[in-house]
């Protein structure tokens, strides 16, 4: 469904991504991990065109993301994205956050949008908070709202950019639980995260990146059982021994 | 239009240059006076002594609510009256600008002082420094370093403001340009020239501020 082929990207002199290739099949959950500054967040932002690339090709289903003249707005409406710092619209209530895209982008009626919002917010257990503003919720609650906001658009795939790394430790699980459920429902997901427990539990494949390159791209069991590269072994030993 | 006569500028260059010198002097002296008085006002507001803080706040808010032209009129009227003798337009204008700009500078300086972390004051106190020593050696040097770009920006604004001495016919660059414009009947040439001169100086100043800010963040 998502195919990334040989993409490279520079900011001025700085090479952020070098010749990266990976694929996500329909219904697959792929975790992207690696040390900070390895380019994993940039990679995921290239998938819906938030970051332009200089070389290579990205396709999502039949849409050529990297081609000139592609209607990125239309593509983005079909891919959900969850950010590290939630990025909920602070001037709107939870309900309005979920309804805005449905009404303005998908053209749904107010009633339809509301019904969908309530159903999704109910599923993450936040129905009592639906009229509140983001600033009145905890980090974990905000991130669950952000996931619901993305799902409200009925996405064909979901991108997660370090969804738990801005959270206090006690709130991480409430967000991961929602993500696990989503994975088990068969959602196509690409997840940048350091949560190796999550990767082990639901990921089909793990992509390990370092210094802007894809170093490993293997099934979850292979990656954890027998990482090939020294850098991946090193990374795993650091992160798992904590 | 069509017959732009640039010789009018050339012929009156010495007169215009005198005007520009007056503008620059007025700016420089008013910046210095304004910063000194403004620092005093800022320290008064932050002193924690209520009457002082209220007096300073009252002064600053009063000055900031009225137009500069009115302040210039006020001091042209008040200064000779208070001193019992005329002291000339330049000094009246200078006093007006110092009193006016001090209110604006004090707000900048107050923000600058507040931007110095509380821990710095505590560290000073822990070393046994007095209140004034802490202000003098710890707080103000850091505050001023943070504020330099804004202080310079305010200086550029002040330079533009000096053109308002036109209303009391003090011969700054603006008044000089206007005199030439009217006596020679060359309004378009002279005012466009004045605009270019002001623009060049102010734009150069703002580029300098940008360089200062860049040097700071780099």
């Amino acid at each position: 469904m998502i195919s990334i082929e040989n993409i490279s990207k520079r900011y001025g002199d700085f090479q952020v991504l070098t010749d990266c290739t990976t694929h996500v099949a329909k219904g697959e959950v792929v975790v992207v991990c690696g040390p900070s500054g390895s380019g994993k967040s940039t990679l995921i932002k290239c998938v819906n065109g938030l970051e332009p690339v200089q070389q290579g090709r990205i396709r999502v289903e039949d849409v050529e993301v990297t081609a000139k003249g592609t209607n990125l707005t239309k593509l983005r409406a079909r891919i959900g994205m969850v950010f590290q710092h939630f990025e909920l619209y602070p001037h709107m209530s939870v309900r309005e956050n979920l309804c805005l895209g449905q009404q303005k982008v998908l053209g749904r009626s107010r009633d339809e949008a509301n019904a969908k919002a309530e159903a999704l917010i109910g599923r993450v257990g936040l129905l009592p908070h639906i009229e509140k503003f983001p600033g009145q919720l905890s980090g974990g609650q905000q991130q669950r709202v952000a996931i619901s906001r993305a799902l409200a658009m009925d996405p064909i795939a979901m991108l997660f950019d370090e969804p738990t790394s801005a959270l206090d430790p006690e709130m991480i699980n409430e967000v991961l639980d929602v993500m696990v459920e989503l994975a088990q429902d068969g959602m196509t997901m690409m997840v940048v995260t350091h949560e190796m427990g999550f990767a082990r539990k639901v990921a089909d494949r793990v992509v390990f990146m370092d210094a802007g390159k894809v170093v490993e791209d293997r099934t979850t069991e292979e990656f954890f059982g027998n990482p090939e590269s020294e850098r991946a072994q090193d990374f795993l030993s650091k992160i798992l021994n904590h | 239009m069509g017959d732009f006569d640039l010789s009018v500028i050339w012929n009156n260059l010495p007169f215009l240059w005198q005007g520009l010198q007056l503008s620059l002097w007025l700016t420089l002296l008013a910046v210095i006076g304004g910063i000194i008085l403004g620092t005093g006002l800022a320290l008064m507001r932050l002193s924690g002594i209520l009457p002082l803080a209220l007096a300073a706040a009252g002064y600053v808010n009063l000055i900031r609510s009225v137009p500069l032209i009115l302040v210039i009129f006020w001091f042209y009227f008040l200064v000779p009256l208070a001193l019992g003798r005329p002291i000339g337009g330049f000094y009246s204008a200078l006093i007006a600008f110092v009193m006016f700009e001090a209110a604006y500078y004090s707000e900048i300086i107050r923000a600058g002082i507040q931007s110095v972390r509380k821990g710095q004051v505590h560290a000073g106190q822990a070393t046994g420094l007095s209140y004034w020593q802490i202000q003098r050696y710890v707080v103000l040097p850091q505050a001023f370093r943070n504020m330099i770009p804004i202080l310079v920006t305010q200086g550029i604004i002040l330079f533009q403001d000096t053109s308002l001495v036109f209303v009391v016919s003090l011969r700054d660059f603006m008044t000089a340009s206007s005199i030439v414009a009217r006596t020679e009947g060359r309004l378009a040439e002279m005012y466009i020239f004045a605009a270019l001169v002001y623009f060049t100086i102010c734009f150069a100043g703002s580029l300098f501020v940008r360089r200062l800010q860049k040097a700071r963040t780099a």
Binding site: K45, L50, L72, T73, K74, R76, A77, R78, I79, G80, M81, F83, E87, L88, Y89, P90, H91, L100, G101, K104, V105, F133, P134, G135, Q136, L137, R149, A150 | M1, N61, L62, R64, S65, V66, P67, L68, I69, L70, F73, W74, L81, G84, I156, Q160, S163, L164, F166, V167, M174, L187, A188, Y191, I192, A194, A195, Y198, F199, C202, F203, S206
Partner: protein, 238 residues
Amino acid sequence: MNYNWNWGVLFEEEYLGWLMSGVGWTFAVALAAWVLALAIGVLIGVGRTLPSRPVATLCTAYVELFRNVPLLVQLFLWYFVMPEIVPDDLGRWMKRDMPNPEYVTAVTGLGLYTASRVAEQVRAGINAVGPGLTSAAYANGFSTAQTYRYVLLPISFRLIVPPMTSEFLTIFKNSSLALTIGLLELTAQSQQIAEYTFQGFEAFTAATVIYVVIALGATVIAQILEKYTRIPGFVGKG
């Protein structure tokens, strides 16, 4: 200090009338210029943040041009120079037939000048909203126009209420420059009373008090506006 106090002069019909007329013109200039400044300032400010390079450059040029020339010079350019350099017919019309030329010029000059200051506040407000929310809006499938309409502008307008209040006060104060092209607004009237009656103290005090009352009024309104538009739990990233 030798001075004959006479506060009564302010309440003599003639001079009271001058003052009131001055207040009227001050409001007329400031409010009309404010409408112009807001409309153009928002456009220019938004323009500076747009991804389009030529648009952003053009808007930056506007701001730099209007910010680096003293307002007084700008007023003179509009008043004395503009009629000379436009086509002859238009110039003749501006000089002879344009209704209320001092007022129109003051509003135009002050409005376009203040627009450059408003533009800077708008740009700063949009930048303060942060790149994260912009990405989120794009990821949500919004077009650039929708992102501005629903996310960036509503948030940044709330953030810039305080600086805009001070711009609003500045436009009142700057409207006094209109006296240089012969518009008898508040400062001019007080100066005129001082000259006619030799009661400078009383005349300038009256003008000062009126300006202070305007400033207080605007500040109170701004505080109400700020309270009314505050977003629960949101602290600007500044």
